[in-house]
Amino acid sequence: MNYKIKFILIDKSIVFFEDWLMVIFFSVASLLGVYQVILRYVFSMGNDWVEAYMITLVVYAALIAASVAVRRKVHVELDVVVKLFPLKTQWYIMLCSYSLCLLYVFALWIFGLMFVNQVILYDDVNILSDLPEWIHYLCVPIGMGLMSIRYAQELVILFKKGPMTTDKIRKI
């Protein structure tokens, strides 16, 4: 199997992982939310853990969704200034821009891992969810790791395709 096919397979696996985790997390969070509403307003009771679980699931889904947003190029950006430059300069600016994005999410991935490591060392348990605290923060390295892969991909594609306008970059 050549490298190109391997990369395509890896990419498809990541897409599958991102999309389905996001669907599962949003769906379970919604189900927990409606369960809490029914408990509270129909049976006049409630569980604190439900709210904690729901928030954690949405945060996980949101950080994975931020990576999906990179793949789908829906992150809002201001390109009017970049468009004023000649084609080759636009390409260089976009290369810089994607590199900065990669640098940032990669840094957050490292900080996320470091923080999770610290929390594991303290062995804290969340009062509301009764889950080890690190589970609540594991979403940061997962989400930022996925975003790092996406920005690295974008950067490689942009580099390979050569100079082009920002409009064309967005259509890749």
Partner: protein, 441 residues
């Protein structure tokens, strides 16, 4: 020095085409590395912690609910109702578009979602009826902005989160200004259509009107349940031995969750326009937008934290008070600042970055936090239809296949209507405060 670096880097990154969310976060990270004595590892905690708040959970749930309503035929029936009621008037389809935006605004909290939902049906319909394409696109791009003024509203949820203001009160305060803006836009559409002689549609018969009311009954029930649940009954009362308690039934977040399940039930079992198997695709499609929005929130909260840590909001508030500025002048300055900020940034980062700076000053000058919130939201509407970053313009351009530059021109005359409404809302606080004062006392 640190604050200057923070802002210089922010604008440098923005102008380089770095996404708004990352521009905010990267400028904070760089400033921290060079100037602050803050353990960088805490950024790992902030990323998850900044959105792990129950009130903010309403944002993804409202977005999911409106996507289900769009796919499940709820929006289509609301548009049918609006068209049957107003289609025969001069500019009837344009008026129906604005009315549909107002209906859709009661079930969606986002102006961009409103433009997509209504525009994808009404822009082709207006073009087919020989309306000017620029007029059609301008109407929908502007009408969609009502999405964040009529409750529920994502912008109000974020404002409430930042300023610790009651979201139900903000939602109620948005009703009258939303109606005022909607009717102002309809009046202008009517006048333009009459002057330009746009073709009239056939008046719907009473039977047709009744059918469309019957068909849209379930669609209208959704906002009734959402808003009815958030506000509940004004006071407790009893019928015989049966005691009915007053007050709110749901929080806005719970209302958003309930609206998802109502939308699913209505779309799948009543309208039968959607199947369970389509739900994952809807969630995947809408996921990118949720991720984009919440990643902006994460980074903008970090930016706001940095400003707060350096004491910027309080210094500015103290400076404004020392200038003996009257509230009216202050509000004019706020409108100017937010107008220019709205030209370059999306509503979410503006609220998260600028409001923590401006809000303390507004409170020191005795401005009502609810009134201030509505002014902020109307400014965000103006920002959504002014270039270069106007989300509604991007959405209208995508669905109408009209170049962005032409969409900007098409929306330009309509910005004057919103600017007029903004001035009225700014200087007549009664419009924003009367309903919350009546209801909540």
């Amino acid at each position: 020095m640190m604050i200057a670096t923070l802002f210089i880097l922010l604008f440098l990154f923005l102008f380089m085409g770095v996404p708004v969310s990352i521009s905010l976060g990267l400028s904070v990270l760089t400033s921290m590395v060079f100037f602050a004595d803050f353990p960088l590892v805490m950024m790992g905690q902030k990323i998850a912690g900044n959105i792990a708040h129950f009130p903010l959970m309403a944002i993804p749930f409202f977005i999911i609910a409106s996507a289900i309503m769009l796919h499940g035929g709820v929006t289509k029936r609301l548009i049918n109702l609006a068209t049957t009621l107003t289609g025969h008037m001069p500019g009837g389809l344009a008026i129906a578009s604005i009315l549909s935006c107002m209906f859709f605004a009661t079930i969606s909290g986002s102006s961009a979602a409103t433009v997509v939902a209504i525009g994808s049906i009404m822009i082709p319909a207006m073009i087919q009826a020989n309306y000017d394409k620029k007029f059609a696109v301008g109407v929908v791009a502007t009408g969609g902005s009502i999405g964040i003024l009529i409750p529920p509203s994502i912008a109000m949820i974020i404002y409430g989160f930042v300023t610790d203001t009651s979201v139900p009160k903000l939602f109620m305060a948005g009703i009258l200004p939303g109606l005022f803006l909607g009717f102002s836009l309809m009046t202008v559409a009517f006048i333009i259509a009459k002057r330009r002689g746009f073709p009239l549609s056939k008046r719907a018969t009473t039977k047709e009107k009744l059918i469309s009311v019957k068909e849209s009954f379930w669609a209208i029930l959704i906002p009734v349940v959402i808003l009815g649940g958030i506000y509940g009954l004004p006071r407790s009362f009893s019928i015989g031995s049966w005691e009915i308690e007053g007050g709110a039934i749901f929080t806005p977040t719970e209302a958003a969750i309930v609206s998802i399940f109502m939308a699913l039930f209505i779309s799948i079992y009543i309208y039968k326009d959607m199947k369970w198997s389509e739900l994952p695709k809807i969630l995947i499609d809408v996921g990118g937008s949720i991720g984009m929005l919440l990643f902006i929130v994460i980074n903008a909260v970090m930016f706001g934290f940095m400003l707060g840590n350096e004491g910027v909001p309080h210094s500015i508030a103290a400076w404004i008070v020392s200038m003996n500025m009257s509230p009216l002048v202050f509000l004019l300055i706020v409108n100017i600042i937010l107008f220019f900020a709205g030209d370059f940034m999306d509503a979410t980062p503006i609220i998260l970055v600028f409001i923590p700076i401006l809000f303390p000053a507004a409170m020191l000058l005795g401005i009502d936090p609810i009134h201030f919130g509505i002014i902020v939201v109307v400014n965000m509407e103006l920002g959504a239809i002014t270039p270069p970053i106007g989300m509604n313009l991007f959405m209208a351009s995508t669905i109408s296949k009209m170049p962005l530059y032409e969409v900007m021109l098409a929306a330009l005359p309509w910005t004057l209507v919103i600017a007029f409404v903004l001035m009225v809302i700014t200087y007549v606080p009664w419009i924003s405060t009367v309903l919350p004062n009546l209801y909540f006392g």
